[in-house]
Amino acid sequence: MQTSQLIVKQTPEKIALYFFGAFTLHNIAAYSAQVDTLHLEQKSLLLDLKNVTSFDTAAALFIHNLQKQADDFTLLSESPKIQENLLFVQNQVNHVPPRQYERRKSFLFAIGKRVEEFVLDGRLFLAFFGRIFFASLDYLTHFKHIRYKEIAFEINESAIKALWIIALTSFLIGVVVAYQSAYQLKLYGANIFIVDMLGISILRELAPLITAIVIAGRSGSAFTAQIGAMKITQELDAMQTMGFDPYAFLVIPRIIALMVALPILIFVADVMGVFGGMLVSFIDLGISGHLFLERLNEVVAVKHFYIGIFKGPFFAFLIAAIGIFRGLQVKDNTQSIGFNTTKSVVMSIFAVIVCDAIFSIAFTNLGM
């Protein structure tokens, strides 16, 4: 096989380029380094391709660019294939529209764009709220339209199957809180007050919050991914063309299911959290189970329990609504599912905490 190389011969008004061997993508870089040192302007160019063994479109483009620079040129080649290739590339190049450069976006533009997206997102969420409202009105006026089967299925998915993880998490939270406070309380000899502390903090704040956070990570993300996937596979479109309102079929059943499920889960979390605390009190502080429960009954008002349970449906609505809304925002690509799922979990946990803060202030001011 002939080695490929480029030989350059120069006279004051003429440049001759002799190409040998393969002339392809792989040796164009070396050739162009050689050619760039020459000054082709105002000179006549001789291109000899007679000894070229292989020639590709990149080479044709290279030749085409050389021809454009030189004043006049002669091309020597006997292969019809090379000439065809050259002609083809020249034709194509002449039809490529000149590239348009996009103006660089300024920093201000980027900020504006983000703000616009944020506002549009907010408006879409409002529209989503309106749709939920209408679909629930339909439920309330037409009992026949309620999709009991779907609701029951979702309650099973998001409550019954979550029982163990909620029970375990809240038990551990009870243990940890009790263990840490037992150490401090022992210093003051105020052992028995652990009951007051645990009772109020778990029933009123910790159990609802921990349950909501676990469910946001578990069910909220599942809602987003399920509905997002349905959107990508056009299942939602198919439903709409068949006259099935996705809000009645998918959205409202999930929201109702979670609103039913969360108070039940919070109740379980209450029981398990207090049980965890009781266990540590017994082991660490020597408070018997009997004494613990008696004291609990005495000092912790039942309102704390009710307030904790009362928060459940509100947290559930936020988690389900945000999860489903993000699912509906999924675009036609798979990356979008991941992006929206992340956003859904972060946003719903944030919303739950904000909601909890509002409740906390409201209830305290109401004297509860």
Binding site: M230, T233, Q234, A238, Q240, M242
Partner: protein
């Protein structure tokens, strides 16, 4: 009788105009094709016809309903009069084929389970699926089977009008020709009117009665296949090269 009339339709996505004044009309019993280069807005037009997408101006009338002033109850009636087959079938992934096909029957009719089962079996047979496939989930079947099942679901309610989005794309040539025959058979036996988006030349030659070619935001041609030679559109000249 015209079952679909589109006039002066304009569609805008952000700053990009997709359609600028489309006019077309589709008669009852016709198999009507929407053709054109990629990105010309064929599927968008189809989505506008089936109430999945809003348009900027103009009007679309389907079976006598003006889509712009349609209310919810009318839209629900209209939706039961048409069937739609999406490009990838769009079967409900949580239901088996049988349940997918039975869903509109269960939701919209008072039929008992036995009757529904019989109808489902008939539609499964009609589209050329095996009865044993009925218990499979969409994830367990091939792309061609998904399309057939999607078609069975689309015709479950015996609609007057059938919309098909690239029915033969992604099918092997034999299945594609089978699908064409199936579409012709449905039109002849059930008296359906069919609107389809297609790129498949053979399918276009074999099935279409009439077609509209969209290019550069406008309809550049609307007529039968036979009169195609008279068109001067660049797309027509290249796409139907050997025919024209």
């Amino acid at each position: 009788m015209k079952i679909i009339e589109v006039s002066g339709l304009k569609t805008v996505f952000g700053s990009r105009t997709v359609h600028d004044g489309l006019n077309l009309s589709i008669a009852k019993g016709e198999i009507y094709g929407l053709l054109g280069p990629s990105g010309c807005g064929k599927t968008t037009l189809l989505r506008e016809m089936v109430l999945l997408q809003e348009y900027a101006a103009g009007s679309i009338k389907i079976l006598g309903y003006d889509l712009e002033h349609i209310n919810h109850a009318q839209a629900q009636i209209l939706r039961q009069k048409w069937g739609v087959l999406f490009q990838s079938g769009a079967l409900f992934s949580s239901l088996t084929l049988k349940e997918n096909i039975a869903l509109p029957l269960r939701e919209y009719t008072e039929l008992n389970q036995k009757m529904i089962n019989e109808i489902v079996a008939l539609k499964i047979h009609l589209v050329g699926l095996k009865q044993t496939d009925a218990h499979l989930y969409p994830s367990q079947i091939s792309g061609g089977m998904k399309k057939k099942a999607g078609l069975a679901r689309a015709i479950a309610m015996d609609p007057e009008l059938l919309f098909l989005d690239e029915p033969t794309s992604g099918l092997d040539p034999i299945s594609a020709r089978e699908f064409d025959r199936l579409i012709l058979k449905l039109r002849d036996t059930l008296g359906l009117s069919i609107v389809m988006v297609s790129h498949d030349l053979q399918s276009i030659y074999d099935t279409l009665d009439k077609m509209a070619i969209i290019d550069n935001k406008k309809i550049v041609y609307e007529d039968t296949l036979q009169n195609l030679a008279r068109s001067e559109s660049h797309f027509v000249q290249t796409f139907f090269k050997e025919r024209v």
